[in-house]
């Protein structure tokens, strides 16, 4: 059996967030070196603040300033900081109850080692030098043995408030297409298209998935299909995709390869886009070193009768 393929897949996107009134005040406060909490209906102070009361569901808007000093309520040592974390050297994740707050805030504590961290220790905010209105305006916390810091009595009203942020997200996966698709890709490297037949309904799947989606049984019998096929339906794409290096207009078609029981999708070339039609007979065009046919072109055969492909749209 050929080797099962694997490759890294990074999913990454800069999401935009509209903050709403409470988070807007909280993050603008950080930019101005002010930490804000919100008063609940039962007079607790929540830091970070929330928009709605966790007990009564009432709308909360009463912002109050708390101190940039506080007490560690629990912690965990991070031996191997990863990309995007607050500190590049080993540090403690801490929950800090700031002086004046009733709940704790999650952040990083810069400490020389695990032995220097304990529940109940006093810490203070280390502000980032450049602040933009983001949680990273608190660079981290650091050990502190002074008095609770004084508060200015800020009410959360600011000039030029931050109303939105960009939250970059990234997930790293290792992707494997599995046994059946790996075999299909290996065959393609020899310019052959090989699907699999379901032992129950006898339908030939291209590309194969290793199981029949309707019968729910594993497939293993390999069947070479094509290389020719029939255009069963299509559209003409007139808008350019950002990440796709294809000139518009182009034809995106469903093609039933001879011997396959469902259509695969590919581009049609080698003829004017406005002359492509349902029933057109096509064959693959390969380019050197490519994993897939670059496109399909007309074979010159007469068009297929509608009845021969109407179940394969």
């Amino acid at each position: 059996m050929p080797e099962v393929l694997k490759a890294p897949l990074a999913v990454e996107f800069p999401f935009t967030r509209s903050l709403g009134p409470v988070q807007s005040a909280f993050l603008t406060g950080l930019r101005e070196r002010v930490v804000l909490g919100v008063k609940t209906v039962d007079s607790r102070t929540l830091v970070p603040p929330v928009e709605y009361d966790p007990v009564t569901a009432e709308e909360l808007r009463d912002l109050v300033e708390v101190a940039p000093t506080g007490t560690v309520t629990t912690w965990a040592w991070n031996h191997h900081p990863r990309r995007g974390q607050p500190l590049g050297t080993p540090f403690a994740w801490v929950l800090v109850r700031l002086d004046g707050a009733d709940t704790a805030l999650l952040h990083a504590l810069d400490a020389p080692g695990q032995d220097a961290v304990h529940t109940g220790m006093r810490v203070r905010v280390r502000w980032a030098e450049e602040r933009t209105g983001a949680i990273t305006d608190i660079a981290c916390f650091e050990p502190y043995d002074g008095e609770p810091a004084q508060r200015t009595g800020h009410t959360g009203e600011f000039e030029d408030a931050v109303t939105g942020i960009v939250a970059a997200a990234r997930l790293d996966y290792t992707y494997s297409p599995g046994r059946a698709q790996s075999a299909y890709l290996h065959a393609l490297s020899g310019r052959r298209t090989v699907g699999e037949r379901c032992p129950s309904c006898r339908k030939v799947y291209v590309p194969p998935r290793g199981a029949c989606p309707t019968c729910g049984v594993a497939t293993s019998e390999q069947v070479e299909v094509g290389p020719r096929g029939t255009v069963t339906t299509f559209c003409i794409v007139n808008i350019k995709a950002k990440n796709l290096d294809i000139e518009v207009p182009y034809v995106y078609a469903h093609i039933a390869l001879d011997g396959a029981d469902l259509a695969l999708h590919a581009r049609i070339g080698g003829m004017p886009y406005d002359q492509v039609r349902m029933g057109l007979r096509v064959e693959p065009v390969w380019t050197e070193g490519a994993r897939f046919p670059d496109h399909y072109r007309p074979t010159g055969e007469p068009d297929a009768e509608y009845d021969t492909y109407k179940e394969l749209l």
């Binding site: 393929l5 999401f15 469902l262």
Partner: protein, 388 residues
Amino acid sequence: MTKEPVAVVGIGQTKHVAARRDVSIAGLVREAARRALDDAHLAWADIDAVVIGKAPDFFEGVMMPELYLADALGAVGKPMLRVHTAGSVGGSTALVAANLVAARVHRTVLTLAFEKQSESNAMWGLSLPIPFQQPLLAGAGGFFAPHVRAYMRRTGAPDTIGSLVAYKDRRNALKNPYAHLHEADLTLEKVQASPMLWDPIRYSETCPSSDGACAMVLTDRTGAARAPHPPAWVHGGAMRSEPTLFAGKDFVSPQAGKDCAADVYHQAGITDPRREIDAVEMYVPFSWYEPMWLENLGFADEGEGWKLTESGLTELDGGLPVNPSGGVLSTNPIGASGMIRFAEAALQVRGRAGEHQVDGARRALGHAYGGGAQFFAMWLVGAEPPAR
């Protein structure tokens, strides 16, 4: 033991727009939920459970947003469920909520669906750069346009039908204050002259990208008796699914859609949907899906759906008004779109649809689909309590 009859006693929507930059996701869902409670004259404490739905987490990139939304929806100390069935999720979310009442698990349930597309990127969320796959597709329209062409070939429909649907739905939206697109100076000629994006689909035949939320309060007979406004009663509800791609799949008229409709009609005692149903809110993201779904849902024989559209039957003042609200073509906060269909159907039979009210609507169908015509969810609501 028979099921408990389920009544819709509260409905709330946000004004759907391209971007609600003034609110967080929590603020957006809160607005719809608050309006639904106000419609029902209920407080947060009157709600026994919350059932919430949205499209994939990848859209806004907030993993399990229901966790963070519990405060905003008064769900603390109560059961909270998240439903996910791609584009049909708004419909299936309402059905899960309705089933909790029908089964007498809870008496009064708040159900809500949302999408904040301005904070999301649906095209990106659906087109991850999967290794070993050939990138080909340019947007959702490129996925659906070949199926529209297949419908045209199969039925011989003239190529103007799609523009009739788009023009009708956008005109209807002008009567709906919550609709996103209000294109007062749109003409049929402008629709037909709009750019061809994915031939045969034109720009004006596609749905917008919206921020919005929709909420409903569902309750039992006791709750309905206390309601300040007439309720809508659930006469039937069903969900069906099938694989996204399989040999023999009919993208033009999927079997799961036919089966789902047949189940709903059976529950509701409907034998002639065209004559017994007074209004339809169906999920039409591209205009041609109106004639396609008219056939799939049994309102027209196979190949005849476009003739109903062409005859004007589906106009607001026609014999079978389709999407009096303006539909998905005028408003598309993806995760909420299915629930808006269900809620608009309920508004019609409650007589509370305002300017887009269908005169004398007694029975209405709400329909949702998603996942490349893989998931279907529908309900039939009536002005009278169900007979059985």
